[in-house]
């Protein structure tokens, strides 16, 4: 352990590599609901808060506790609870409070707009390792333009303040788009005023269910996105070329992250998937047992771990973020190139090769 964020990140990376080497499902994500009280234009998973069919398909708190017990027996140590908006669930604390007593490194993602004094009090009584609050703008107008909520920013900031007042460990996160990128510095300032770290991401993907999405229309230009990447590396004191992935060998594996090899996702109905963006293979721990569901997930990755011919022959592959999940969202296959990512990789390679 170290109080140094960089050193702590190093420990986490080492643990991830150790788990992956052993095929341990150490890192789980539970998508508690796909429903949300916001309606963000670019969101990859958004259903209305009152979607009765979606609500009916969600596992109960008791069922989730059974799944988590099985997952822990199978090696899970880190757990992210996300959505949709997890706090929409009226039985949220029936799940949450027991989870915090299980010795898990527990993270909660929320938009904080539903964090009342009572919710903050209950979270303080059962604190997670980290709460990630997503911020969609620094002004009410921008927040509304992204989320459709006129009083969203006010409620979000009030929620953050309630959490901070109780000393809970927060990170402010933002998803950048054409709607809010001009307020990036102002959002950073909001996080700084609260004294918490700020993280942002910019490459918007389509919906995992392949339904129509505004993601591409909201996405920043490649040039703007790469400027942000470079700025972020500079801010973190990393050399310009650090953004590049290690050049893979000729027979590189298609899945280059821990997904399906040391991490997994459970959707609101309890089906296990490789990651949030790749909704396969869908085995259910409550029906087949966690061990069998994890085996099916690993087997799926192992069976699809070869690059397509075009990507394998590509000379800017080391600069490319494409993976089977991004191909599935954009092309419906696991292997076809994603044209937008091809262009981005070419530009990233050209910039970094030129030392820009």
């Amino acid at each position: 352990m170290s109080p140094e964020p960089g050193a702590y990140r190093g420990v986490l990376d080492r643990l991830a590599r150790a788990a992956q080497a052993k095929g341990q499902p150490y890192n789980g994500t539970i998508e508690l609901t796909a429903r949300c009280n916001l309606a963000c234009r670019m969101c990859y998973v958004r259903l209305p808060a009152n979607d009765a069919a979606a609500r009916a398909a969600e596992l109960s708190a008791a069922q989730w506790l059974e799944v988590v017990a099985q997952a822990q027996a199978g090696g899970m140590v880190f757990l992210l609870i996300t959505g949709g908006e997890p706090l929409l669930r009226p039985d949220f604390f029936e799940l949450w409070a027991p989870l915090t007593r299980r010795g898990l490194m527990l993270t909660l993602y929320t938009n904080a707009t539903l964090v009342t004094e009572s919710v903050a009090e209950r979270l303080a009584a059962a604190p997670p390792s980290r709460i990630g609050v997503t911020l969609y703008g620094a002004t009410a107008a921008t927040y509304e333009a992204v989320t459709g909520q006129p009083d969203g920013l006010e409620r979000c900031l009030a929620g953050i303040e309630r959490l901070m007042r109780r000393g809970l460990p927060l990170v402010v996160r933002s998803t950048l788009s054409t709607y809010n990128v001009d307020e990036l510095e102002a959002m950073r300032a909001i996080a700084a005023d609260f004294g918490v770290p700020f993280q942002s991401s910019w490459y918007l993907t389509g919906r995992a269910d392949r339904q129509p999405s505004e993601a591409a229309a909201c996405r920043l230009s490649d040039s703007c996105g790469l400027d942000l990447e470079a700025e972020d590396r500079e801010r973190r004191g990393l050399p310009a070329a650090e953004g590049r992935r290690t050049p893979p060998p000729a027979n590189a594996e298609a899945f280059y992250c821990a997904a399906g090899q040391a991490s997994f996702v459970l959707d609101p109905s309890g089906a296990m998937h490789v990651c949030l963006d790749l909704r396969q293979p869908g085995a259910r721990p409550l029906e087949v047992g966690f061990e069998a569901a994890w085996a099916a997930t690993r087997a799926f990755v192992a069976a699809h771990n070869e690059l397509g011919a075009e990507c394998a022959a590509c000379d800017v592959r080391a600069w490319c973020g494409r993976c089977p999940a991004s191909s599935m969202i954009e092309t419906g296959t696991l292997t076809e190139p994603v044209p937008a990512l091809c262009e981005l990789a070419k530009l990233r390679a050209a910039r970094e090769t030129a030392g820009v």
């Binding site: 170290s2 420990v11 643990l15 992956q20 140590v77 299980r102 604190p127």
Partner: protein
């Protein structure tokens, strides 16, 4: 001294870590990675132990000089005290 119940020993890829629960989560804001001697000492602290006793146990388990073992135990238990992982 003896370990408290608010740290749960977990295994990630063969590495031992201590995960805090309850208010220790906020106090620590992270996790504790244990090496082999740290794990051994943590296991011994399931019952009340003195520094000298822990050093003797360490010498019995690892090839280490008594003076080095005592220093290791002092450093480790001091860190555990700082984060409230042991009580006297």
């Amino acid at each position: 001294m003896q370990r408290v119940d608010e740290f749960i020993l977990q295994d990630v890829g063969g590495e031992a870590i201590l995960v805090p629960i309850g208010q220790k989560v906020v106090d620590l804001n992270g996790l504790i990675a244990l090496n082999a001697t740290g794990l051994f000492l943590w296991e011994q602290l399931a019952q009340p132990r003195e520094v000298g006793e822990l050093a003797d146990l360490l010498c019995g388990e690892f090839e280490v000089e008594p003076a080095v073992a005592r220093n290791d135990v002092l450093a480790f238990t001091q860190r555990l005290r700082e984060i409230g992982a042991v009580i006297e």
